[in-house]
């Protein structure tokens, strides 16, 4: 597996505001990475830097290219859906297919049509005539028809209803991901993607606060449904968080030795959202 994104001391300032501070990371090919962070944490800025949409300080290479200087070469190997509904409103479906076909050497029209044929989208329709969900289907069909090495999705399903969201990720996994490609996803709806992620990146105030694979997380973080009579004992082991649901105390531990936790109660894998909240709180203390 090769490193396809490599950042060293990556930074970005807007005036005096530091949107990214000293980011160091390596993303390997064949992974599905979730980039998770609160609003204003620097997610979008990081993605923009990776996609060559903004200048930056420090070192950054994506597929061995400098994204800002070589954006248009890089885009032969990267696809991205930056936001829902960024397809131009005036364009017709057949026109956007024509256009991408003539400017993108790795685009397969047959493939795109195969995806589109499963939808209600017709080729003479304008984007402005499509529903929000259909626009995303169209964009996904375009993107999946590009043989790219890296796919970047920034809030790809924001504002869509649950059927479209589910279908979106199902298509992505079944029809696109082949363990050679790399997918980088940011989303607020973490619960919907956590089962497909292989790696997690938490970002806060422009800094990476967690960079781990899902395997590492399942080995190091545990959620325990603590027995009522073990509460004091559990609290002494410094849980990251403690919450109460229906009178049950749930605590999240960072602990590499699972056996120490077993006497406390029932152990389960923590949800990404809970883990995220816990790590953000820990950081604030």
């Amino acid at each position: 597996m090769s490193v396809i994104i490599k950042a060293r001391n990556l930074g970005k300032k807007y005036g005096r505001f530091e949107a990214l501070k000293n980011i160091n990371l390596d993303i390997h090919s064949g992974r599905i990475v979730g980039l998770i962070g609160p609003n204003g944490a620097g997610k979008t800025t990081l993605l923009k830097a990776l996609l060559g949409l903004t200048s930056y300080d420090g070192e950054l290479s994506v597929l061995d290219k400098n994204p800002f200087k070589q954006r248009h070469q890089l885009m032969q190997d990267i696809s991205f859906i930056a936001d829902v509904a960024v397809l131009p409103k005036w364009i017709r479906v057949n026109e956007v297919l024509d256009f991408v076909e003539s400017v993108h050497p790795r685009f397969s029209r047959t493939e795109a049509l195969r995806h589109l044929n499963r939808t209600k989208i017709r080729s003479r329709q304008k984007v402005s005539e499509l529903s929000k969900g259909m626009v995303v289907q169209l964009h996904l069909a375009l993107v999946m028809a590009i043989d790219a090495k890296l796919l970047v999705l920034d809030e790809p399903t924001l504002g869509l209803d649950i059927l479209f969201r589910k279908e979106f990720y199902d298509n992505l996994l079944n029809d696109y991901f082949d363990h050679q490609r790399t997918i980088l996803i940011t989303t607020h709806q973490v619960e919907e993607v956590e089962h497909i992620l292989t790696d997690l990146l938490f970002i806060k105030n422009g800094e990476i606060v967690l960079d781990a694979s899902m395997d590492e997380i399942t080995e190091n973080y545990f959620e325990v449904l603590v027995h009522p009579d073990k509460l004091e004992q559990a609290r002494q082991m410094n849980p990251l968080t403690e919450r109460t649901i229906f009178n049950k105390h749930i605590m999240l531990f960072r602990q590499s030795d699972k056996q120490l936790l077993e006497p406390l109660g029932e152990i389960q894998r923590p949800g990404v959202a809970d883990l995220f909240v816990a790590l953000l709180k820990e950081d604030q203390q």
Binding site: S55, R71, Q73, M75, A85, V86, P88, D98, V100, V103
Partner: protein, 317 residues
């Protein structure tokens, strides 16, 4: 290189798809307005009569009288009609291109679709140059072809009316008129127009790439404020009140770009409209000696380069 050959036509097609209405429909509507104007004139002329030098003429008498005019005068009349038609087309072309360029690098930032365009392997230089190429080649091509067609149809329609009243369109219209000369003038006019207009086009692209909002106001008021500032700077520093040169440079430039057949701008007197179209074209091409054209081209290169540079950074409004 290989991709550039495929990419450039695709980018131009893209502009055409987005601006079909402005580039194709506008000149077609303009042509229809001329034809409709003639029909309306005809219909009113059926019902009324005109008085020339105290003698009353009906339409039929007028048409017969026209045939008696010397060929010189007929040439002046019909060439004048065609030149005014083509001049109006070029004027509207300038206005259409003006607004096209103002939105060219602004609209996609406003609606977010820039993020889609930038997800494709097309460089910012290619993108900006395709917009410029659209302004100086694609849009003029539509206007020139449709204007030439409108001129032809106007003559055909008038010929039919002349025929209906027993006149002879060949001697009254087609012999005296220089249709190909008018088409030559139209093409030469479009070329001179764009040579004069290039710095304006460059400026519009720059504002379009850079403006966070209201590109129109910025495009218009920044130059005017600069001219105003220059005027008052000189008034206050040297008490001289004749510093209109920046104002006059702007107005002359816009005048040339809008009405390429006209001489200068502040005096909008079309030179000898109605005389020999090729003579008008030759006079117009004489302006190629004017150094102002070449300063303008240098300014255009600077502004377009800046627009490309800004396009790399600006992804939103």
């Amino acid at each position: 290189m290989k991709t550039a050959i495929k990419t450039t036509p695709a980018l131009l097609k893209r502009e055409y798809w987005e601006h079909r209405g402005a580039f194709r429909r506008t000149p077609m509507i303009l042509g229809s307005v001329f034809l409709a104007g003639i029909l309306i004139f005809w219909i009113t002329a059926i019902a009324t009569s005109v008085h020339i030098q105290g003698i009353e003429y009906t339409l039929k008498q007028g048409i017969q009288k026209m045939a008696e005019l010397p060929p010189d005068m007929l040439a002046t009349i019909w060439n004048g009609v065609l030149m005014n038609i083509s001049l109006l087309f070029l004027m509207v072309l300038f206005i259409v291109v003006f607004f096209y360029l103002l939105g060219a690098l602004y609209d996609d930032r406003k609606d977010g679709s820039i993020l889609f365009w930038k997800s494709l392997p097309v460089s910012d230089t290619q993108t900006v140059l395709s917009k410029l190429l659209t302004a100086i080649f694609l849009a003029p091509a539509f206007f020139v072809v449709i204007a030439a067609l409108a001129q032809l149809l106007v003559l055909v329609l008038v010929s039919i009316i002349v025929l209906l009243y027993g006149g002879d369109p060949i001697s009254a219209i087609w012999k005296p008129i220089d249709l190909t000369g008018n088409w030559g003038l139209l093409v030469a006019g479009a070329i001179m127009q764009l040579l004069w207009a290039l710095p304006i086009y460059g400026w519009l692209l720059l504002v379009s790439a850079w403006a966070k909002r209201r590109p129109f106001l910025q495009a218009v008021f920044i130059p005017l404020l600069a001219a105003f500032g220059w005027y008052w700077y000189n008034v206050l520093t040297s008490l001289s009140f004749t510093n209109g040169e920046v104002f006059s440079a702007i107005f002359t430039r816009v005048g040339h770009a809008m009405l390429p057949y006209a001489k200068g701008a502040l005096s909008f007197n079309s030179r000898q409209l109605g005389k020999d179209p090729l003579a008008v074209a030759a006079q117009m091409l004489h302006e190629l000696k004017d150094p102002a054209i070449y300063y303008g081209l240098a300014f255009a290169i600077v502004t377009v380069s800046l627009a490309i540079w800004i396009r790399r950074y600006r992804n939103t409004t």
